[in-house]
């Protein structure tokens, strides 16, 4: 028996798996640290929203059918999703900053705005 809740779960799982596979392909195909970071972090965050969302819907369904374990499944999956949503972009930001500070430049880059801004700052303070 396939109910409409199962169809929603299958659609969410399909979207999530598609974006997680895109993250792997992007890690292999992109030419640069920053573009690889873009693929590897954003795609996994977006895909994990949908996959864990399907698990949350499954837990709510089992809770609705009378099993109390379903509520625990849904709430704990939601806490894991919140942990991913907070930590993953912050980690990506730290990696990008570290890559720029350790001297890795993007391919075909012409202008480095961050370095120019840092070199301009002390001059302004001296002139003022």
């Amino acid at each position: 028996m396939i109910s409409i809740v199962n169809i929603i779960i299958y659609i969410l799982l399909g979207i999530g798996v598609f974006f997680n596979l895109l993250a792997g392909v992007g890690l292999l195909r992109f030419p640069d640290v920053y573009t690889r970071l873009h693929a590897g972090t954003k795609c996994t965050t977006f895909g994990s929203i949908f996959i864990i969302g399907s698990v949350v819907i499954l837990g709510l369904q089992t809770w609705y059918q009378g099993n109390v374990n379903g509520s625990v499944l849904a709430i704990h999956s939601l806490i894991a999703l919140i942990a991913i949503l907070i930590t993953n972009p912050a980690g990506a930001h730290a990696i990008a900053r570290a890559a720029h500070k350790s001297g890795v430049m993007p391919v075909n880059a012409v202008v480095d705005d961050l370095k120019q801004a840092k070199s301009k700052k002390p001059k302004k303070e001296e002139s003022e």
Binding site: G24, T44, A83, I84, G91, S102
Partner: protein, 89 residues
């Protein structure tokens, strides 16, 4: 085991393919930040895989392990990034 368990195991196989691609990037990566990007991607996919595994076997303890793993992998990523960016902390 829940009725949807076989579909969840199929999802785990696809996630394993994504992990293999990230491992290839870690082995091939020309610079150190490339390898860290691969490691961060593997961490996120492993968290999602733990949640899927706990849902398939209907065991909540695996999802608790996933929460702790998410926080600890975030701390490890921050430490490696701090180490990479040189001595001005």
């Amino acid at each position: 085991m829940i009725p949807l368990a076989n579909d969840y195991f199929l999802v785990l196989i696809f996630l394993f393919l994504a992990i293999i691609m990230a491992v290839i990037r870690i082995v091939k990566g020309p610079t150190a930040p490339d390898r860290i990007v691969g490691l961060d991607t593997i961490n996120t996919i492993v968290i999602v895989g733990m949640v899927i595994f706990g849902a398939a076997y209907n065991e909540v303890i695996y999802i608790d392990v996933a929460i702790v793993y998410a926080l600890l992998s975030f701390v490890s990523t921050l430490f490696i990034a701090k180490y990479l960016q040189g001595d001005d902390f």
